[in-house]
Symmetry: C2
DNA sequence: CCTTGGCACTCAACCATCAGGAGTGCTAAT
DNA sequence: ATTAGCACTCCTGATGGTTGAGTGCCAAGG
């Protein structure tokens, strides 16, 4: 059964009130706040219906009603009118992300921080996948007697390094030769391809220099793996003073879960397809510690949609969050971050 | 006035009981627990004296007594007998830090984690100062049209990189030449010296290539500065379920302070001189958010005392912590970490 | 049929009261 | 100097009544 126009209005008003105050909303309050000229009794009838249909729930007999996650979902899908970003927020965003900063890390960090600051919730930025990186340059340096430092550089400017122990001392000349070989054979080729090649070629080889190459290959693998997992999070502590979560146990779990990041990363990667803001409200995330929270995420695109690189960012907060403002904020941040990382 | 032998014993017993249970200790309890054959009334007299002298305090009229930070200080200085590390803990330490891992970051991380795990408190490791690093190698790579990636490597295997925008496109040959010049002029020289030199030489120059060198110099400066501030912290959340801090406000402050790290770093650097475990109990740290906490820290030495490198590590927890076990644990971790980082 | 006032009912929150227990300080006797 | 005894304080938990917000249902009125 389709919902009554009036019922929709009341639901909307109820959720807005609850978002604003955080307390359950009663019929008297709602009747007044909704601006319709109807009595609390009528409102009660409507509320009872909404409860039957799963949009509302009553914490206990004599305490108004609060939205369920189904209610919130209906609210954001059908009732919510997103407001444009406030000028101050927009200014701040531009100021922090609007101009070119060459260091990727720094930009990602700035984005995480600004999300957390403006929303007073936990902000996160998933480090973009760079599956299509190509190898730009490799160096092998002899640091001490039997230690070689391998340095990998990709065309995107990612640099990764690792110390490798060797069984015999290797001369600078030998290492140079190996690096040259590496650069000539693999320079400019996709990292993934490089690794596959190496994996085949070095299968049985036992030569010392090949051991170095193999270690180097492992390093390359790490580079691909690592950013599979990386995610910046800022402002988790803001979650500490959300009254709805304040009760001990769940909060600990949540913070730990956020710290672990693993499942979170999973959840978010699924939301990377598509180019719109996405919401996970309460249980919708299918991830227990987040049952009381909502996640608002948006993918961002670096260097064009086709060959480009994708990432996700967003915020984690209570279900009761001001979606009208949070959504455009997350959206705007995603656009700006994408642009900041794209500029050549 | 020197403290009575019996008073000392009672103070010791009281603090031990309080550390074990977390609740204020009354005269009856204490009389029983101390093993002396005296009545609660006598104990009360002694306790009253100890309170007058500032070692104890009574939360309210009819609730036993708890130690003040002065009491704890006297306890650890004069009464505490440190027990040797438990075999299990020792095993775990050895397992996690006992063998050589070439990657410094990884070792530091492992140490932080193991501190937090074994103590159930927040563990931290201050990244060692490497003021005496020398420059090992420099690379300049043209990534895109007008972007140069500068890579610095020190003799200790630290690698740092930064993207530099240039006004004109520079050829690979030009960059190579610059890098060669750099490596030949400065390779093997202390980083600090390199920077000073560059600062003098590049003062007025406006040539594009010199701009790159100047950017490179700034990168070098960052390398020196950065690890001035760096510190790893793990397990802050463990502090969440300390009943004594559970009360909201202070905890938020503490977590934020820990997050900021700045003042903490200050505090710890002061404790780096000397080679022993050091304790800051409650207000002693002179750092408000830590008023309810104790910090147990120990310096660690990498590559020998004279030319070596110094760092600090330790834990942050409630004043009421089992010092007898925490102290040797922090001490042991410091030794092992020092050794793990020293092995060639 | 929808709306509304009325009414009985429920329940959390607040408050006061009370008993019990732990602990203290003081005093007087040993 | 030690200790038993005692009066006193204060926290804690249980009990119970009151209040106020809110509900559900019903019956009357548009």
């Amino acid at each position: 059964m389709a919902m009554d126009e009036r019922a929709r209005h009341l639901l909307k008003s109820l959720i807005e009130q609850h978002i604003a105050n955080g307390v359950p909303v009663g019929s008297r309050q709602l009747a007044k706040g909704a601006g319709l000229n109807i009595s609390p009794a009528t409102v009660r009838n409507v509320m009872a219906d909404l409860e039957d249909e799963g949009y509302l729930i009553s914490p206990h007999t004599s305490a108004g009603r609060i939205p369920t996650h189904v209610g919130y979902r209906f609210f954001v899908d059908a009732l919510l009118r997103v407001v444009p970003l406030s000028p101050e927020s927009h200014q701040l965003l531009i100021h922090r992300l609007g101009h070119y900063i060459p260091d990727t890390e720094q930009v990602l960090h700035a984005a995480t921080e600004v999300l957390s600051e403006l929303t007073h919730m936990a902000g996160f930025v998933r480090v973009p996948r760079r599956a299509n990186r190509t190898l730009r340059h490799v160096d092998f340096l002899a640091l001490r007697e039997k230690e070689v430092l391998a340095i990998f550089v990709t065309d995107k400017g990612d640099v990764e390094n690792r110390l490798i122990r060797t069984e015999h001392a290797l001369s600078a000349a030998e290492l140079n030769q190996a690096a040259n070989f590496f650069n000539e054979s693999y320079g400019g080729r996709p990292l993934q391809e490089v690794i596959q090649h190496l994996q085949r070629d070095l299968q049985q080889s036992r030569h010392e220099m090949d051991r170095i190459l193999r270690s180097a290959m492992e390093l390359g693998e790490e580079m691909l793996e690592e950013d599979q997992q990386r995610m910046l999070i800022e402002g988790e502590f803001q979650l500490l003073d959300l009254p709805e979560l304040a009760g001990s146990e769940r909060l600990r779990e949540l913070l730990n879960a956020v710290r672990q990041k693993r499942d979170l990363v999973h959840l978010l990667d699924s939301s990377m397809r598509g180019s719109e803001v996405r919401l996970f409200i309460g249980e919708e995330s299918g991830f227990a510690p987040l049952s009381d929270c909502s996640v608002v995420s948006a993918p961002y695109v670096v260097d064009g949609e086709v060959l480009g690189v994708l990432g996700v960012l967003g915020v984690i907060g209570p279900m009761r969050m001001p979606y009208q403002q949070i959504i455009p904020l997350v959206d705007g941040t995603a656009h700006l971050l994408g642009r900041a990382l794209s500029q050549s």
